[in-house]
């Protein structure tokens, strides 16, 4: 049985990665299991300068999911390079840094630094629902997505993955934009913009009023988007959105994802990603699949 995949030029031992913002920089989870079991770790969204994050409350539970507005709180790239990267490098896994910025200039500056670090790839956060300004929404139109990707491409030699927001009318056209801009892969979906109101206080549950919805509640939508994007572009897809098991992971791969990310699922059980790897292997055994890459995009459309 071969679980190896090549995603956007990154050779991974299996298709399972952990999503930005749900795994920090790996330290906390390394107390539960060997991070070397994972195909890859996508770091917390990291910026050029430290960010203090959103005002509380930042989190609330919803039906089969959660809403959050963390606001990309992070210690910035310099701190990451000095303290977190050396620690993460101890594990035999691929490291992809989620990069966030407020302007093209900032993206360029950040990616110039990232290109010099001992990392395996960069995931460009093109519109984070989680922040107040929604990441200035580079991912909202074909042209803005193409532009920022192509500018970053000029300074980044490492594999470049663009993370797409689902809060757009036609995600396939945005995917086309980043492909035309030179991205090696796309990851989707980021969170959906949501809101919860306490009917007794009549106040929104989140300090920022609205925030990003994640968890199994968004999975069918994410699977649909992965499918649509896979039909529109030729670059590989990192699929995510509510995956909590190996079966969920397989579903995304059948829809067209080459690799997948566990996001909020990490919060309900620290071993969710490990269980997903085991679940994929079980599925391969059951259906006598030799290479996991053989199932990518193999949905039998009616």
């Amino acid at each position: 049985m071969n679980t190896k995949i090549n995603f956007a030029g990154i050779e991974m031992k299996n298709p399972v990665t952990v999503a930005a913002g749900t795994f920090s920089y790996g330290r906390e989870f390394s107390e539960f299991f060997d991070l070397g079991k994972l195909g890859g770790v996508i770091t917390k969204g990291t910026s050029l300068k430290p960010r203090s994050g959103s005002k509380p409350s930042r989190i609330c539970e919803t039906a089969s999911g959660m809403l959050h507005s963390i606001g990309l709180q992070n210690p910035a790239i310099e701190y990451f390079a000095k303290y977190d990267l050396p620690n993460l490098r101890k594990f035999d896994t691929k490291i992809i840094v989620n990069a966030c910025a407020n302007s093209i200039e900032e993206y360029i500056e950040l990616c110039k630094i990232l290109d010099t670090l001992d990392i395996d790839g960069v995931e460009l956060n093109l519109a984070c629902t989680d922040t107040e300004n929604r990441g200035l929404a580079f991912g909202n139109t074909y042209e803005s997505a193409r532009k920022v990707t192509s500018e970053v491409r000029k300074v980044l030699r490492k594999p470049l993955i663009a993370k797409l927001t689902p809060n757009v009318p036609d995600i396939a056209s945005i995917a086309k934009g980043v492909e035309d801009g030179g991205a090696d892969g796309v990851s989707l979906i980021n969170t959906l913009l949501g809101m919860k109101i306490d009917i007794h206080t009549r106040k929104p549950a989140l300090g920022n009023n609205t925030g990003g919805l994640s968890g199994p509640a968004i999975k069918p939508l994410a699977v649909r988007m992965v499918y649509q994007v896979s039909k529109a572009v030729n670059i590989p897809i990192l699929g995510m959105g509510g995956i909590v098991s190996g079966d969920d992971a397989i579903e995304f791969m059948l829809a067209g994802a080459t690799a997948i990310s566990i996001g909020a699922g990490n919060f309900i059980d620290p071993y969710t990603s490990i269980k997903a790897i085991e679940g994929i292997e079980k599925y391969m055994e059951r259906y006598d699949i030799e290479n996991v890459s053989d199932i990518v995009g193999k949905v039998k459309i009616n």
Binding site: T22, K55, S64
Partner: protein, 263 residues
């Protein structure tokens, strides 16, 4: 270092209306837990409710490896938890929180708790008494019906005062007022508080103004409980509108020095 334990429920008691005390066998957690630590419980295998429930530790029976926690049925998750039967395994991660009650250097302390906030103060009090400290407890409740654990606390304190908002049991008034009356003669070196946020604000104000050390155990909605999601943010004392700065209750806390936080 937190562990995931599938802990057997060996003791279950409804100590007050919709308030349950659970005793679970969890040696791995009990052996390393400290007063002020909390645990995170996954109440069902499904995805709704989705997140784990953070619950404070009430008692650590180190001899028998039994962890006791008390919770109030407040919503879907705690409702499901309350239906667990003796012998069932409960998915628990703990101990959690690096900010725990710190009392080594004091010999005369006061604990002040309100309502269901009194639970984490029990283990603190028990430990402090075991280390031959003087512990005075001030526990406040809304009314007579909500008074809990009087006997239990009396066994692990040097002095116990109970009050109710309406005077239907014990003294009438707030716990902080009772404490303030005693402070002249008692000269407490540190106050440890847990309870509803308005109560904690009052305690913090009192302690800060009178320059008494004070440690507060805070509560905030949590995503992971591990310090990963950064959801349970609380403003630091230095935080300003121009330069906001946050701690996280699950990792930096849940216990903080009152002077360090602004809640």
């Amino acid at each position: 270092m937190p562990k995931q334990v599938f802990a057997e429920l060996i003791d279950k008691k409804e100590i007050n209306k919709e308030i349950y005390k659970f005793g679970v066998k969890a040696d791995e957690i009990v052996n390393i837990a400290k007063p002020g630590n909390f645990i995170e419980i996954r109440v069902s295998d499904g995805t709704d409710p989705f997140l784990r429930r953070p619950i404070s530790i009430y008692n650590l029976d180190k001899e028998n490896g039994i962890l006791e926690f008390i919770f109030q049925v407040k919503g879907k998750g705690t409702k499901i938890l309350s239906t667990k039967k003796i012998g069932e395994k409960i998915d628990i991660i703990g101990p959690l929180g690096f900010g725990t009650f710190n009392f080594d250097k004091y010999s005369n302390i006061a604990i002040i708790g309100g309502g269901i906030g009194i639970f984490p103060l029990y283990e603190l009090s028990k430990e402090a008494i075991a280390q031959e400290k003087r512990v005075s407890a001030y526990l406040g409740f809304r009314n007579r019906e909500l008074v809990m654990l009087e006997e239990e606390f009396s066994n692990v304190t040097s002095k116990l005062k109970i009050c109710t908002d309406d005077g239907s049991y014990g003294e009438k008034g707030f716990a902080i007022d009772l404490l303030a009356k005693d402070i002249e003669q008692e000269k407490y070196e540190c106050i440890y508080a847990c309870g509803p946020t308005p109560m904690l604000r009052t305690v913090k104000k009192y302690a800060d103004e009178n320059n008494i050390n004070c440690q507060v155990s805070l509560e905030e909605k949590m995503g992971c409980g591990l310090g990963v999601c950064l959801g349970c943010a609380v403003k630091t004392a230095k935080s300003s509108k121009e330069a906001p700065e946050y701690f996280h209750v699950c990792k930096g806390g849940p216990v903080f020095n009152s002077k360090d936080v602004d809640f």
